[in-house]
């Protein structure tokens, strides 16, 4: 058939041997039939119209010639195509893949797995394959990535076990994709079978048509090993709570009933946990509590004892970073009488889901009422205020007499000066002298000189001292001019206190339109007390009538933001008010990307789009990296990826800007460790490799049995089945036939005198 088609001039390349052929018509067989049904009677009728005398023999000859010509023409008009399938010869390829992950560095009897691979290569393994197949194998190293290895590198054995992960599925997919699965005689994979990332190789290799042969450098169960695993260690804890850490110890060829786990906190002994093994089990869990009684980041390192001659000691340690934060903003209010102002401060604060409020009011005698998160509780006598103060971030005083403060005064002063408690003092109907503050420690915290304050019962407005206020909580509107106008057009307050003067170092945050002897009287004043902040508001009601219950879009939200942001600032959490860093885990690994997300809000607590966010990362060696963040599809969220190069504690600082103006900063930390996934289960996975080999038509062998693999590799020249479509109109022979038939008819007619 190949010869006939070649005779007609059809090009069959590259098919050498035709396996099958099928004829198809562009118009279909029905089209051809209909055309013939129309054309044959027509040509016969035309022939009959010719009224000349002719012999029967000649009549039949002429009719046959014409009908053949009509059939051939109709056939060609219908678009005949011949689909030919046949074998095409191919160049064979063979791949050898060497696992270069860190688990290949695990030693068995002073010889690492990679050393055994070197021995294999030294025994001319590659040459044996070349001799068998007649082709030099393509050699690759793989771990989390695949790299081709040149012939020279193979001869020098330039393999190092430094890959942090192993992805067998990805490696095989890469090699078959590069070399072409059809031309591959097989893949020889030299690996310990520890696949730590990517798809499950059993699933990924199930449909592979290329045989994958596995060579294991060593045998399962040769050496004893103990491994320590942490199950999702906590990244964050909340102050005055505790977190529980869970882990597991696994044994391989070790007989013991318990394994001690030493826990160190910032390098110092913290506690010891024990993993107790039931008889016959190889895994046992352990757990311990970490009380979060101090803010900050703490590095925890866990360790189990190393055995002599153990498979690897790299899996005997684990660590995590715990960040203890006061995530919740706890605001405590202490008032000497009921006040609508405090009710609305509470409402504003609770617009923030992370805010918690506790409001104590002394009603009469020793009768106190308390509401937590604005839920009133039954009255009590002589409550223990210290308990609530201990967890408070901000304390608000409103008409609080010194007698009420006395039991907590010492703690209050200590915490304010330490910067762990912010103080907000609201005006009351009584002067500081009437409240008994004169000569007390609390008086020293105040930003004003009390004693002779005078109530100025004249309504007035608030005035921002400057358009460019350095305090974010005073920026309720992004545009500075509009922001000043916003404060100026707020409903008036009913009056304010005029004090003798401000203490040195005090700062006016908001002025009033009321004029004192010379200057405008201050409405909001700030002072520093040690590391803490104290804010005094001199006028009231604090929230003019319009704020109390404002249903308009302009009303409640900006004021709520002012309260929430001011309290966060007072709680020394200025950065948290605007920008926050979100880490998937506080633990990162060398060479592996960690996603860092930064959430940015504007001064109104609205998520900010189109901000410029930059993260500066500093490692323990002092090296610094700047990473710009890209805005994500989530509003106000910006993201970047960080691939650490070194282990150790890395500090992160995010700086967010909008139209050149700083919105805020946030800080965080990440503990970078060498990845331990390669050592979590360090034994050679013989059963997995045997299954993968079996599923793909390959074989599994240990390093001493490589001859089995060499002999199993198919050395026949490769060929593949290909199909080709031939347009039958593309033939000079058919053209000749088509021209020849009318010429023959014309010639016969001519010699018979018919034309």
């Amino acid at each position: 058939m190949h010869s006939i088609l070649s005779l007609f001039g059809y090009n069959l390349n590259p098919i050498r041997k035709i396996e099958s052929a099928a004829l198809a018509l562009g118009w279909g067989w029905a089209g051809l039939l209909l055309m013939l049904l129309a054309l044959i009677p027509l040509s016969w009728w035309v022939y009959r119209c010719e009224g000349k005398s002719i012999s029967d023999k000649m009549r039949r000859q002429l009719l046959a010639i014409r009908i053949v010509w009509v059939i051939v023409l109709a056939f060609l008009v219908c678009g005949p195509v011949l689909v030919v399938s046949g074998w095409v010869p191919q160049r064979n390829r063979l791949a050898v893949m060497v696992d270069c992950s860190r688990s290949m560095g695990i030693k068995h009897k002073d010889e690492s797995r990679l050393d055994q691979v070197k021995k294999l290569f030294d025994r001319d393994f590659i040459k044996q394959l070349e001799d068998k197949t007649g082709i030099y194998p393509e050699v690759f190293s793989f771990s989390d990535n695949v790299s081709p290895i040149s012939r020279q590198e193979v001869e020098q054995f330039s393999f190092t076990a430094d890959g942090n992960q192993t992805d067998i599925s990805n490696a095989v997919r890469n090699v078959t994709g590069n070399l072409g699965e059809g031309s591959l005689l097989g893949i020889v994979m030299v690996s310990d079978g520890v696949s730590t990332t990517g798809e499950n190789p059993v699933m990924a290799l199930a449909n592979l048509r290329t045989p994958v042969h596995f060579i294991a450098p060593g045998q399962e169960g040769e050496t004893a090993d103990m491994a320590l695993h942490l199950n999702q260690p906590p990244a964050q804890g909340y102050l005055n709570s505790s977190v529980r850490v869970h882990g597991e110890v696994s044994l391989h060829r070790v007989a013991t009933s318990s394994v001690p786990v030493i826990v160190r906190k910032n390098g110092e002994f913290f506690t010891q946990a024990t993993a107790d093994f039931a008889s016959g089990t190889e895994r046992a869990g352990f757990a311990f509590n970490v009380p979060c009684n101090e803010e900050g980041s703490f590095r925890f390192e866990l360790e189990i004892p190393a055995l002599a001659g153990e498979l690897t000691s790299e899996n005997n340690q684990a660590g995590f970073l715990l960040k203890v934060v006061r995530e919740r903003l706890n605001v405590m209010t202490l008032s000497g009488r009921l006040s609508w102002d405090l009710k609305f401060i509470g409402n504003a604060l609770l617009t923030d889901p992370n805010a918690r409020t506790v409001h104590w009011t002394k009603l009469r005698d020793e009768r106190w009422v308390c509401s937590r998160d604005l839920k009133p509780e039954r009255a009590v006598r002589s409550p223990d205020l210290l308990e609530d103060l201990k967890i408070a971030d901000v304390l608000i005083l409103s008409g609080t007499s010194h007698d009420m403060l006395r039991p907590i005064e010492e703690e209050l002063i200590r915490r304010v000066e330490a910067g762990t408690l912010g103080l907000l003092v609201l005006p009351s109907s009584q002067s500081f002298a009437e409240l008994g503050y004169q000569g007390t420690l609390v008086e020293k915290l105040l930003p004003v000189v009390p004693g002779r304050e005078i109530w100025r019962g004249t309504p007035g407005n608030m005035v921002l001292p400057s358009t460019e206020t350095p305090y974010n909580f005073l920026r309720l509107i992004d545009d500075p001019i509009q922001n000043v106008e916003f404060f100026a057009t707020l409903p008036k307050f009913e009056g304010l206190y005029e004090y003798d003067g401000l203490k040195p170092g005090s700062e006016i945050l908001i002025n009033s339109t009321l004029r004192g002897n010379a200057d405008l009287l201050p409405f909001m004043i700030r002072a520093r007390a040690g590391l803490g902040n104290v804010v005094l508001i001199s006028g009231g009601p604090l929230w003019p009538a319009g704020f109390r219950l404002v249903p308009t879009d302009r009303g409640f939200s900006p004021y709520s933001a002012l309260i929430v942001n001011m309290c966060k600032w007072l709680a020394n959490r200025r950065e948290d008010a605007q920008v926050s860093i979100e880490l998937a885990s506080s633990r990162g690994y060398v060479g592996q990307g960690s996603n860092i997300r930064v959430w940015v809000m504007n001064s109104k607590n609205e998520l900010q789009t189109n901000a410029q966010v930059m993260i500066t990362i500093k490692d323990e060696r002092g090296g610094s990296t700047n990473l710009p963040c890209i805005e994500t599809s989530e509003k106000g969220c910006y993201e970047t990826a960080f691939v650490p190069a070194f282990r150790g504690l890395h500090s992160l600082e995010a700086d967010a800007r909008y139209q050149g103006r700083e919105l805020g900063r946030a800080k965080s930390e990440i503990l970078v460790e060498m990845p331990t996934a390669e050592f979590d289960d360090p034994v050679i996975r013989e059963s997995l490799m045997a299954q993968l080999a079996s599923d793909t038509g390959g074989i599994f062998a240990t390093i001493d049995q490589v001859e089995k693999i060499v002999s199993a590799i198919n050395s026949e020249p490769g060929q593949k089945l290909e199909s080709k479509s031939i347009d039958l109109r593309d033939s000079w022979l058919l053209l000749i036939v088509l021209l020849l038939l009318p010429m023959v008819e014309w010639y016969l007619r001519r010699i018979r005198g018919l034309s």
């Binding site: 009488r337 005006p427 109390r548 249903p551």
Partner: protein
């Protein structure tokens, strides 16, 4: 000389007045509490008991040192000034009806932190339940137990809501509508605290003890609202 003395006297008096005005003004008075009554439609007597709220606010000023404006102020739901008042008092004997517009405003008011105290003077029950159902279709009045905090704020009312006026011989009951964990509406039924708050002599059958109970309950309500 006489002229000089008179000028000196005038200056002295002016100085003393100026000084006294400054001294007087040292007592800050702001953030005054006003509890207006709701002027509702439907034909009910929203104006009943005009002295009850002024009396309550006067007592709040005395007993709680709360700056108050003790006047009988009425406000309709559609009044833009409504949002100045954190608490509203609604009382009467008959029909209460809010328009759809008023329902929307009242809902907005309550959801933004406002509070409505409904006092059943008698005969209001059917109508107020209907209107509250229009406000919060998915909420029901909850009966407050006698150990609820509202009966124990400023005064301990161990039996819960006190009985002030006898109407149908039914026991007094305090119902509340809660939304998002907060009490939005308090309905004092078959008690008539409002009558007990009125001036002595308006309801001659109210003994001083009964009137004191009513005042204690009203102050408890005011305290509770200001704490939530």
């Amino acid at each position: 000389m006489t002229r000089f003395r008179s000028i000196l006297t005038v200056l002295t008096v002016a100085f003393i007045m100026l000084l006294s005005s400054r001294v007087q003004s040292s007592a800050a008075e702001f953030d005054r509490t006003i509890v207006p009554r709701v002027k509702y439609g439907g034909g009910g007597d929203w104006y009943t008991g005009p002295t009850s709220m002024p009396n309550l606010l006067r007592q709040a000023s005395e007993r709680l040192r709360l700056p108050t404006q003790s006047e009988n102020i009425a406000v309709s739901i559609s009044d833009p000034e409504l949002f100045r008042y954190p608490m509203l008092f609604l009382t009467g004997h008959g029909q209460v009806r809010f328009s759809d517009y008023e329902i929307n405003i009242l809902l907005n008011y309550l959801d933004n932190g406002g509070f409505l105290w409904v006092n059943d003077s008698y005969g209001i029950d059917r109508f107020i339940r209907r209107e509250v159902r229009r406000l919060y279709p998915d909420r029901e009045f909850e009966l407050l137990p006698s150990d609820h905090a509202i009966f124990n704020m400023l005064y301990d009312l161990k039996d819960g809501l006190p009985k002030i006026h006898e109407h149908d011989g039914k026991p007094p009951a305090a119902y509340a509508v809660f939304n998002k964990g907060r009490m939005k509406i308090l309905y004092t039924y078959e008690s008539d605290i409002g009558d007990g708050l009125e001036d002595a002599g308006v309801h001659t059958i109210d003994t001083p003890e009964i009137r004191e109970k009513a005042m204690q309950m009203a102050l408890n309500i005011l305290t509770y609202v200001m704490m939530q």
